[in-house]
């Protein structure tokens, strides 16, 4: 498989995973969020996560930042389509950021 085929197949596989994730991914809190709920007394260690459980976030003296696409979504009204757009953008951006940076670094290398 040459480089070009490898890149194309790789990107397609990544995009497929991301798009399927928009529909299939579990909405349960991840391990860190679950732990936060446990230590805040909102969830039993081995029990399910209650519907109304919410992580208490300290804001005093903490940095706060609003990202353009929070939670990999473009907002409620956009629904799954917004999720797909966000994931596709992120996947392609991750690819180009790393590719661009790597090319950039190589360009600084003295020619042999």
């Amino acid at each position: 498989m040459d480089n070009k085929t490898f890149i194309i197949i790789g990107i397609i596989v990544a995009l497929l995973i991301g798009v399927v994730a928009v529909f299939m991914a579990s909405g349960d809190p991840d391990g860190l969020e679950s732990t936060a709920l446990v230590v805040q007394g909102q969830k039993e260690l081995t029990g399910g996560t209650p519907e109304n459980a919410e992580i208490h976030e300290e804001t005093e003296g903490r940095f706060s930042y609003s990202s353009p696409m929070p939670d990999y979504s473009l907002g409620e009204q956009m629904g799954p389509l917004g999720g797909i757009i966000a994931i596709v953008l992120g996947t392609i951006l991750a690819f180009f950021v790393v590719l661009g940076l790597t090319y950039g670094i190589r360009a600084t290398r003295p020619a042999k």
Binding site: A14, A25, G31, V39, T49, G61, Y65, P68, L89
Partner: protein
């Protein structure tokens, strides 16, 4: 295990940033020395794949879900823990800045956990086990499992120092959840490495040849 900004005070976040900048500098040096035309597409495709896989949360019971982190995957397939630092740093920057997944002031801590600790634990566990067992899937699985669990315990310790988690309760909960999530990490890493080595055996530097050969 992306820590949000609200979980760690800014001054502690700054300390992790300073530490991680040393590792990022070393990772950039790795990229400068090791990258060639052949490996370039693999690094970029891995970044895209790890980004996508990180969005795929699978349920792991106990009201909890988890996804691949990818530190072991990047380090094993590219033959250096700095590959994991390089790729995970870029993925975490995109996630934090664009999607609010993981904070900004705590990004240093997140890169230390998933990129640095995940990469080093994954890479050296793999090397050690590969030498002992000669079994590629077994070595990859266990290396990836540890590269999920140990960063989670590190995060738990950081959150204890931040006053967000109690020490013992936090360690127990994080340990249990990520010991299970680590099974996902192990299975997906074994599968991904199998697929990539099948597609492009020339790109991969896993030491498998020397281990199975003469």
């Amino acid at each position: 295990m992306h820590i949000p900004d609200s979980f760690i005070p800014i001054w502690q976040g700054a300390i992790y940033w300073i530490i991680v900048l040393v590792f990022i500098t070393l990772a950039l040096k790795w990229a400068k020395d090791e990258m060639n035309e052949e490996k370039l597409p693999l690094v970029a495709v891995l970044a895209a794949g790890i980004f996508a896989l990180q969005s795929f949360n699978l349920p792991v019971s106990m009201g909890t879900s988890g996804h691949l982190v990818g530190g072991a995957l990047a380090a094993i397939i590219l033959g250096s823990p700095f590959a994991a630092v390089f790729i995970l740093a870029m993925v975490l920057i995109v996630q934090g800045v664009l999607f609010g997944d993981g904070g900004i002031t705590v990004m240093g801590a997140n890169i230390i956990n998933m990129g640095v600790i995940g990469g080093f634990v994954g890479f050296y566990t793999f090397k050690g086990l590969m030498g002992m067992t000669k079994s590629m899937p077994l070595s990859v699985f266990f290396a990836a499992w540890l590269a999920c669990l140990i960063p989670a315990l590190a995060a738990s310790l950081e959150l204890y120092l931040a006053g967000t988690f109690p020490l013992v309760e936090g360690m127990i909960a994080m340990g249990i959840y990520y010991a299970i999530i680590g099974v996902i990490e192990g299975i997906v890493t074994v599968g991904a490495i199998y697929l990539i080595t099948t597609a492009r055996p020339d790109l991969v530097d896993t030491g498998a040849k020397t281990a199975t050969g003469a």
